[in-house]
Amino acid sequence: MRRAHVPAHPPPGRWGVTAGMASGTAQLARALRARKRRNAITAYLFLAPYLVLLLMFGMFPVGYAIGLSFFDTISGAFAGLSNYMLALEDFRLRRSFVNVFTYVAIWVSLMLAGVITLAVIIDMMPRRLGTAVRTMTFLPGAVTSAAVVVLWLFLLDPLVSPFGGVYALFGLGNRFQVIDAIGLASVFALMGFFAYAGGWIVVLHGALTALPEEVMEAARMDGCKPVAMAWRIKIPMIWRSIALMAVLSIANGLQLFVEPHLLGLAGPQLARNDWSLNQLAYQYAFSLGDFGVSAALSTITLALAMSIALWIVLGTRFYRIDQ
């Protein structure tokens, strides 16, 4: 991903124009400007389909939700901040916040510990074996959304689970005891770790393979042992990828919806319809028909997610804007 062929500033028009020719006649300047304009028009023609979609599904929904959050959508009157007040006064909001933050804390810790450890170990394994292990961790990524919940409802049931022995060890006899013992936040964190760890192991492993061999060689010559090398050299050198993983996981974790929503598949005892923030926003729109409060809640979670995104793009250099 080097910037080899890309000049810092692409030529303004076609290159028939040499420095000598552009010696200042007004005619030439006009021609150049026209060329520049044509160039911009061409670019926007290429961009048109995407820009339409960007407006329709990026900018407009966000703007509309923000706008709606200031209206009483049932009477249609401007309501100022009252939707936000209503949402903040709802006793369930605090609980959902606590739930989601607990979940994010557990999930991100699991990801940090598990993904870093496995990526580093895989990096030290013989290549073939390492690839096999990496593939194994990656495949559960195919088990997403609805399927991951169905699968885990079985995995958490001591009567059918391949991990039944583990539950027996702790004296847990049925699914409810297991879920009670682990806690819902940890259950969702486990589901997330199972499905998403593999993708990030691939990313971190890619970062590890790209590290300069000279540095490793020098460390080895200085008598650095493998564990110290991983801890003191490799992990610090890929910290940017690690930080990206943590930050993106936080941004996504805050949006939890599908897992708690589908837990009710196992029976009404487990059904939770306001466990996470997004569920609460959904409840307002679909059970109460109050789009205003729903929009206010969406705006709050959206603001969280977009500030993280803006910070990643502007405050770090993970993704490049300039060629």
Partner: protein
């Protein structure tokens, strides 16, 4: 014991370091954690509702059971498996197709043209790409409600066709792997901008196309939240929404023993497999791309 001693005498091997032992154990544990559930999913689909409990976990039932379960799943009155699968396919293929149509020329223009507004478009694209999809699902619902497009096929396809990560991938690809000299000489030879894109840039962009299609398809195929919120007519459900509504309607996973409905646990498992298999197959065949660091932008979580 004597056997061990002879081994030692014959080949004085280095002692296994503690960290190697620990690493081995960790890998073993990880293989169990990631591997056993997948293996179990496949094996459990061969059991009946009763043998799922009586047989030890991870044992093979019979192919007959697989057939019977499948028949139950397909013939149950609430099931519209064919319709849902077809819908999933329509939504995924439509979403992938449109996202390619939008992303490739956009990425090309951003990478090869200098024009006012370029930086702003890139910035917005990246913020949209990093913002989790789930954050805009309810706003999109509110918008569709306004436009009267709720509960239509086109709403899902259009919403998933907006794929900023695809634009970013195309942009990176065209910016780094497209030799400028080729574009320039084509232009000197009098090719129009569209011709340069269509006949020179696009044919060279096959890897980028594959990558964008891969990520877009995987995201669309398992899309639950958006489809669940936008679609209320069960004729329009995609597989994830249809199958979960079937499972919860038949109470296939709840404790109540006899519901008299033929959709029980094995049927739920096969339904989940149906959802997982296409993506699993794509994963296995796309090992080639997967090793690149490009995954970093797609990982949502």
């Amino acid at each position: 014991m004597s056997g061990a001693r002879t081994t030692i005498r014959r080949r004085p091997r280095r002692k296994l370091a503690f960290w190697q032992l620990a690493a081995g154990l960790i890998v073993l544990f990880a293989m169990c954690f990631f591997g056993l559930p997948l293996l179990w999913l496949f094996l459990a689909a061969t059991q009946t509702d009763a043998s799922l409990f009586s047989e030890p976990p991870l044992s093979f039932g019979s192919w007959e059971n697989v057939g019977q379960t499948w028949t139950n799943l397909v013939t149950y009155e609430g099931t519209q498996l064919g319709t849902w699968a077809l819908n999933s396919l329509i939504y995924s293929v439509g979403g992938v197709g449109l996202s390619l149509v939008a992303a490739l020329p956009a990425g090309y223009a951003l990478a090869t043209h200098a024009f006012p507004g370029r930086r702003a478009i890139l910035l917005v694209t990246m913020v949209a790409m990093i913002t989790p999809n789930a954050a805009v699902v309810l706003p999109i619902f509110l918008e569709m409600n306004l436009l009267g497009l709720n509960n239509t096929r086109i709403s899902i396809i259009l919403a998933t066709a907006f794929f900023p990560f695809g634009v970013y991938l195309a942009f990176i690809y065209f910016a780094t792997s497209l030799p400028r000299e080729i574009l320039n000489s084509a232009r000197v030879d009098g090719a129009s901008p569209w011709q340069v894109f269509r006949w020179i840039a696009l044919p060279l962009a096959k890897p980028a196309i594959a990558l964008i299609a891969f990520f877009s398809f995987v995201a669309n195929w398992s899309n639950y939240f958006l489809a669940f919120v936008l679609l209320s007519d069960d004729e329009l459900y995609n597989l994830p929404v249809g199958l979960t509504s079937l499972i919860s309607g038949a109470r296939a996973l709840s404790f109540s023993a006899a519901t008299g409905i033929p959709v029980r646990r094995p049927e739920a498992i096969q339904a989940a497999l149906l959802l997982v298999l296409p993506v699993l197959v794509i994963f296995l065949f796309s090992q080639r791309f997967i090793r690149t660091g490009q995954l970093a932008g797609s990982e949502k979580g």
